[in-house]
Amino acid sequence: MNRRVYLDHNASTPVHPEVVQAMLPYFGERFGNPSSVHAFGREAREGVETAREQIAHFLRVGKEEIVFTSGGTESDNMAVKGIAMARRQGHIITSQIEHHAVLRAVQYLETLGFEATYVPVDQHGMVDPDDVRRAIRPDTVLITIMHANSEVGTIQPAAEIGRLAREREIPFHVDGVQTFGKVPIDLDAFGIDLLSFSSHKIYGPKGVAGLWIRKGTKMVSVQHGGEHERRRRAGTENVPGIVGFGKAVELRARDMADEAVRVTALRDRLWDGISARVPEVRLNGHPTQRLPGTCNMCFRHVESESIVLGLDLKGVGVSAGSACTSGSVEPSYVLVAMGVPLDWAMGSVRTSLGRSTTAEDIDYVVECVEPLVAKLRSAMPARAEAR
């Protein structure tokens, strides 16, 4: 039996045992609908509101500013469409490397008559605030820029972009799904008006996330129905999920700072180990302004998926930057936007470490990668080098 090493924490994380314990009663005796007035409903309501307080405390905001959703994708859609549609028309600024939840929401709004500017990124995946400044128009109704990219982990200059947005009184949405609970987010200092954040990236359950909306922000609902979440998001709350999310956030408040230091050191150990032993490998993303656990690498002249498969067979879970599931392969749009040459971009592999990752895990992965890449390269035709 192989060792099992999970290096895909940006995709999802294992639920923390304390989170599971906190959730269990809400599948059983506290099963009620939080909208019901009876004791069963009130118990469920209490769970939801405790979680809201835990998250509000962590973000240092008012609890009435937090809306629970079904996931980061819903939070992003709610923010982007909710802000834009409240203004009926106008111009939106976003970046070329946003998550598809933002990119495709903006593209949809373009079909409704909104206009959009997709600002570029530099070779490290960083947005230049001056590009945002230049993109601002009198009719700009929203700036939406992610805090950190899930593929390469580059952390954007949110505070500088937020300052521009504040000067022009343009709502500023930040997709914080990859940074929430991992690195500090100062909503006031960053000038953020809306923040998307998710549970299953921080050892909480899947199917629950949140959107923080600064008090006074004008927006419309995109999901219509009952009076839930102060009429901002209709639908019965995912009570066990929300309770678990609250607990997960409470644990992050306790563990986040120490873990960031430890995981950053392991991430660097992985890169140092691989770059010292494998020729023609490059690191993607900003050298320092990067998520603690994210290490995205390109192995030149090797195909991403063959590395993912080779490592899977060794018990190691990582993700590929390019995928050919539909019979055609596209290099990652994030790496393309960063100007990574195609012969490198085709061989990109993302590793993302987390709270359970150990130094032994990292050393094992380095041991696996070196012969795997050498083997794949040895079977490769010389002409592929021209790619």
Partner: protein, 125 residues
Amino acid sequence: MIYSAALVDHFRNPRNAGMMRDPDGVGESEYRECMDLARFYLRVRDGRVLEARFQTYGCGPTIAASSAATELAAGHRLEDLVELAEGRVVEAVGGLPEERRHAAQVVAMALRAAARNALDRRGKG
């Protein structure tokens, strides 16, 4: 694992990987959508494949299919090999998910090209 044991085995332990010196036939094929590239070298005796070797750039299934195809080719008459069906390669790796059929396609095309090349050379020789 979505792949068969045979496929995984060929990926893990590729047979006949690498180039061949002075082959009797060489052929290659590309699957542009996926950027896969497979090349086969054949050593031929009395009209039959004595040995086949491959060099492949591609995802796991394409590498595995290349390895399996070198074993499949051995012993075959060139005249048969130029007709090699993609399905034979699929069988040789114990089946392929539908969205990975291109692995067998690019490998079968490259192997047919190598066999054709060997026949052409024989005709000229």
